[in-house]
Point group: C2
Chain length 716, copies 2
Amino acid sequence: MFRTLFHGLLALALLGLAGAARAEDGYDLWLRYRPIEAEWQARYRPVAASIVVAGDSPTMRIASAELKRGLDGLLGGAVAEDQPAGAGAILVGTPEESPMIDALGLPLESMGREGYLIRSIRIGGKPMTVIAANDDVGALYGAFHFLRLIQTRQPIEALDIRSTPKVQLRLLNHWDNLDRSVERGYAGQSIWDWWKLPDFKDPRYTDYARANASIGINGTVLNNVNAKADSLTAPWIGKAAALADIFRPYGIRVYLSARFSAPIEIGGLKTADPLDPQVRAWWKAKADEIYRAIPDFGGFLVKANSEGQPGPQDYKRTHADGANMLAEAVAPHGGVVMWRAFVYSHETPDDRAKQAYNEFKPFDGRFADNVIVQVKNGAIDFQPREPFHPLFGAMPKTPLMMEFQITKEYLGFATHLAYLGTLFEETLAADTRAKGEGSTVAKVIDGSLHGYRLTGMAGVANIGSDRNWSGSHFDQANWYAFGRMAWNPDMKARPIAEEWARMTFSNQQGFVSPAVDMMMGSREIVVDYMTPLGLHHLMASGHHYGPGPWVDDLERADWNPVYYHRADAAGIGFDRTKAGSDAVSQYAPPVARMFGDIDTVPERDLLWFHHVGWDRRMASGRTLWDELVARYGRGVRGVESMQRDWTRLAPFVDAERHREVATFLAIQRHEAKWWRDASIAYFQTISKRPLPAGEAPPEHPLSWYRALNFPFAPGH
Amino acid sequence: MFRTLFHGLLALALLGLAGAARAEDGYDLWLRYRPIEAEWQARYRPVAASIVVAGDSPTMRIASAELKRGLDGLLGGAVAEDQPAGAGAILVGTPEESPMIDALGLPLESMGREGYLIRSIRIGGKPMTVIAANDDVGALYGAFHFLRLIQTRQPIEALDIRSTPKVQLRLLNHWDNLDRSVERGYAGQSIWDWWKLPDFKDPRYTDYARANASIGINGTVLNNVNAKADSLTAPWIGKAAALADIFRPYGIRVYLSARFSAPIEIGGLKTADPLDPQVRAWWKAKADEIYRAIPDFGGFLVKANSEGQPGPQDYKRTHADGANMLAEAVAPHGGVVMWRAFVYSHETPDDRAKQAYNEFKPFDGRFADNVIVQVKNGAIDFQPREPFHPLFGAMPKTPLMMEFQITKEYLGFATHLAYLGTLFEETLAADTRAKGEGSTVAKVIDGSLHGYRLTGMAGVANIGSDRNWSGSHFDQANWYAFGRMAWNPDMKARPIAEEWARMTFSNQQGFVSPAVDMMMGSREIVVDYMTPLGLHHLMASGHHYGPGPWVDDLERADWNPVYYHRADAAGIGFDRTKAGSDAVSQYAPPVARMFGDIDTVPERDLLWFHHVGWDRRMASGRTLWDELVARYGRGVRGVESMQRDWTRLAPFVDAERHREVATFLAIQRHEAKWWRDASIAYFQTISKRPLPAGEAPPEHPLSWYRALNFPFAPGH
């Protein structure tokens, strides 16, 4: 008997080995439940011995299955489920569904639907852990949090965790087109296989929902803000509804981008004038139709009168008129309208950076209760670095939500390693001074500064059909960091990077610390080799890949890099002081003074706000020209340093992922040098100054860089 | 000690179980080496106890690794490698590298580079198996064959297998664009991540090569026949070279589609006239450049003067002039030119079906030695059924190769189940009568009929970035069948389907027989609900999705379905007899007579060749109109029957794949009914005849079907 059992186990073990040849292809993201170190298993097992989930809703079944899957994988053994709670039980649920949890009298009152408590408790003398919430989705969030503790090797014996989201709408924006291409997508096609929806439900949709729920993302805008009206026709509503059905138990609502002219294009009307009664009726009927298919539909996201999109101004109406009309249509169903502030007028303005403020500030307080205005982090367009958008702090009576770009349109596409946690943190931590010191952007976004009735944060997704979801392994961290900061805008980039690196790669200290250092420095490195010292919008046209600081021939002045850097014989930079475009005056006075004074503006923002002489002395003692060249070089060396770091981390990372990251870093090194060389070659024709000693001349003449073109770049 | 070992094994087993949760997502294709039944393992193990591979070339290392991976997986245990050959050893190699194999004196003389022998032998009284070939790649093919025997549960104790390919060029044609879209692709994006090549080599490229080598495919045309000249620039040659380096040890050569006007577009010349010395010099230099990067580059595939593509006729030169110029450029390097016969003139012809013959027949014997003319299976364009192309048998002095379409442009995209083995077989088995009875298309293609110096078969790939490669699980069978029939055009569709079903799904007899029956009938079902009785080219415009028999407004007459069905008050069908377009006369006289006589033409081809009165009696005794309606209905019922069959097969198939196939069958059922209803609704407006008793009227009025449109259909 024993021998038979032994042989059976042997066969099983060998079978397991064959099965375990599964590639580390990144599909599992940070939910990578591989068996952990034996000593940690030994420590955790008694505290995570069984799972007792109260309730049988789809959400609670998911919470239960996730804990089972996670603990089975991590602890390398089958964790019991649904036992009568004994020592080491993990109790999961709501007081309503679980008498045991109810009896604990936990302080859940102020925690809303999504908050959760995780506590180490004793019941009948037996140590247990309770994951409790007011609603099932809170319990699911708590379950993911509990797993994260184990994934990151935190103690779980004496827990007293309380977490509620500070932001209500935590949304991904998919710029996914109906033909499955993705605008500014560098991770393959859209994960929405529209053609086969609603019939075929790719199992990947479920994994998408799991990943989002694990970081608290609670909504997703399925289609591109440059929207087709077709997305609002019955067949496409059906496809959206199929996705909504899958996402619902994960606490994720579906939203749609709405094309403002849809009443004409699919409604057969002659106008889309928001004050036209027929138009209003059409949108109300359309909203009713959508809500019949998707009862918890989140609402609309709208890009109007921006970059050629239709909008209320086509009818001499205002943004408020347009937004409020849509808001009226979804209000009876509890929906919201997210109205984007990324607008700039058809006429070439004196300074594009001022346009959004100029167009929206006058309408503060004029938007309906269920409208929230979505503002990009900076005033231009997702550059490697931008000062915070002047609208933050300037709209006390209108809820503003943040729009970050997770996909790296301007930061090297998928192959450049650039951890965006630092970019998000920098923006959120910026002090608007709107109501005195400490009036951070984070406090605008979480609503606390102005008492917003609605709060939100959106991230333009970097998710696609690539096996690793994001186009590169490290780009997964940007999705992760966005979710974590949307939950809590006060979270810092470093601990998030550390969590992610531990869950995604390794908990070995030899790995974690250097990997996190590398991530933390990575975005500044990109700034250095692309747009140092406050330069911006220097990329090539259309696809936005590679340097194009010389571009001066695009239709609109403010589409050209030369419009932004304004380099001339005297110096370089965009004068946004009172002497120039006076964009600084859109900020609160102390901020305006700080940015507007060349002696107080941070060097990192210098050329954003000032036109500066080539020979001006910088903090380093170098002239501006020399400093500029030095920054470009520092960027290239920064990538080389990341390459060395990553090489040293090889012992901690599986071969497949290590090789891929190393290959991408080599591409990044090559392209960083291209940026440096092309930029210096160009700017030197204007500065007419020699390179500082020790700085290598560009590898090719400027004409060589100008001749490069990339007709098949992705995402365009 | 024993207890420790036991616990270790227990842990391993549990770990294995956790790891084994790997989804059955179809990625493994037919190389799905899951552990087989214990009794079969017991039977095979003694005969496959160890692997002894001679030689250390990349190809032999691959053969060794594949056998190891396959046997470890299938037999559920670690198979020994590189042991001194004992009982149960599998000896793999060439006489040149292996003295043991050399000593066996195997009859390898006439087997070429790619042929192989597999024999059960005894050495020193010990039973062994030898897999021998003249070249490493032959040994690799033999290794895959040996694994296939186990995968399909064949006896392996007394093997005496001898296999050589009957066709030299066994090629996939990828219609993959440089922006990663795929023309007529229904499986996601191109698997070529051009943007990240040549630096990043997706591990998937290796799995692609493995899969192809396993069925003997030895070449791949990387880019679309509707080619961009960019594909011949240095950066793209570098990308192709990176792929060639990966594919080389698998016996796979890389080819490129060449745009005829490239000398103008990227060469800066004023002309692409094939007789212009500068043009000839440009192509020679271009070929030299390619061969420097890819020493075993296969050659060019060209679509010229077809559907708007440039070609020699733009300069009043002939197809032979064009092909021979390119042939001259690649000849010194051993390359070939595959010149497509899919042409039709700019002027609307009397019958498009006659064009290729008319254009090419006069040039028989006028092509250079390293040119092969690539001919689609039928004279129109990959319809669900076409009679064999009249060029087959008509070009005795010019090598012709077959072009099949594996991707289902006209057979329901990825969601309709249509096993194309029967289509391939039907074409290959067709008798051209060119040199008397038995002059089958297969014998044209394998070169035996006319003594061709070059032979080839191309399949337009259905491969994309979808996890399951082909867009649906059953579409993998079409890739598989193509490869098997390219190796041996005499192979029959049924045994290939059986091999595939066993390897891909299950060897249980309760599964195999019904699954193979389902596959074997599937394409005829599609013919029934789309284009019964010889009808053809009835699809909607552009994307070719769904029915559009009414379309009559496209620019060229011969792009319109009405051009092909010619339905009128009297009857329906294209008169290609002498009284009509006389396309029949392009066939050998006995075939021409058979097709040309309404009493001898097979009913399946009736309306391809004849305009037939609505009331003509068919073999069934029904009138043509009633028969047409009956066939449409039979198609719909055929899908319903497949649905029932598949439901019954649930016990044999993992849940994930079963669900996906079932979902796709439901889509197919829905769309089959759409085809039937729309077609009947339309044709009834012309036939003016009632539906036969018991036939349900179309669900919607004709106007409803005509109003449908699909602007976001894939592959277009």
